[in-house]
């Protein structure tokens, strides 16, 4: 008959093993999401489901953003007409948290991958679609004044 103390040890050992595997899977999952997100993204479209925003942005507005998520936790969001935002970012689950350096404004964008496309959803319903731009992946996020 097995010693109950030893049975407990075995059970404890299994629990530790399970916990370790879960943690490893969790860390790997987070790391792979981080790796997928970092780099340069060129916007392919901005949409909003509400009729209030039909025709927004105007087709001739040229609002094609370039988003760079650096490995150092910094981001830059540039638009052709001179709009630029930079700051820091955090990844929390399926959300990307951006904090702008100038005003300190913080926003939480839900993100999802569709093939090689990234979709960011703003809390007010705007959806930004991006495609990764591999040739700029190592550019890093630079502050707006650079």
């Amino acid at each position: 008959m097995m010693n109950p103390y030893r049975r407990g040890q075995l059970s404890l050992g299994r629990n530790w093993l399970t916990l370790t595997v879960y943690c490893a899977v969790g860390v790997l999952a987070c790391t792979s999401q981080d790796r997928l997100l970092t780099g340069s993204w060129g916007s392919t479209g901005i949409t909003h489901p509400s009729p209030f925003f039909s025709g927004v942005p105007a087709p001739d507005a040229g609002r094609h953003a370039m988003l760079v998520l650096g490995q150092d936790g910094k981001f830059t969001w540039r638009e052709p007409e001179g709009v630029c935002h930079s700051g820091t970012y955090l990844i929390q689950g399926h959300a990307l948290l951006l904090t702008e350096s100038t005003g300190g404004e913080r926003i939480r964008l839900d993100y999802a991958f569709r093939g090689d496309h990234l979709r960011l959803k703003s809390p007010d319903g705007f959806m930004f679609d991006f495609r990764k731009t591999p040739h700029l992946a190592d550019a890093g996020a630079k502050p707006c004044n650079q």
């Binding site: 509400s50 507005a61 926003i107 703003s122 809390p123 007010d124």
Partner: protein
């Protein structure tokens, strides 16, 4: 009225109540002076108004400006007049009042 218009109206009312004692004309006069467009709220002033009212965020505020101009700018001059501004607040009793007179406009006979 859609969700976006409701949110917009609600937040602008809250802003006016908090910062301009509920006086919509006072609020309008504050923003129309920002970008030098006399008696009209231009796009940069509208962006400031939306930021003050916590409408949208730093990535979407210019898109909100486009949406608001599309909805309100009836004469399509790229700016919001008092009448256009008041049209989104038409449920508010204050917006139906006569616009407040500016200093120096008082022409009362007992002067």
């Amino acid at each position: 009225m859609g969700d976006e218009e409701e949110e917009l109206t609600k937040k602008i009312r809250q802003l006016v109540k908090k910062q301009f004692d509920g006086d919509f004309r006072k609020g309008f006069d504050h923003y129309d002076s920002i970008d030098g467009q006399d008696l009209k709220i231009g796009s940069s002033a509208l962006e400031q108004l939306l930021a003050d009212a916590h409408v949208g965020n730093f990535l979407t505020r210019k898109l909100w400006v486009e949406g608001v101009l599309k909805a309100l700018d009836k004469d399509q001059d790229g700016a919001i007049s008092w009448d256009e501004f008041a049209s989104i607040l038409e449920d508010s009793p204050q917006s139906k009042e006569e616009p407040a007179k500016k200093p120096g406009e008082d022409s009362s006979p007992d002067k």
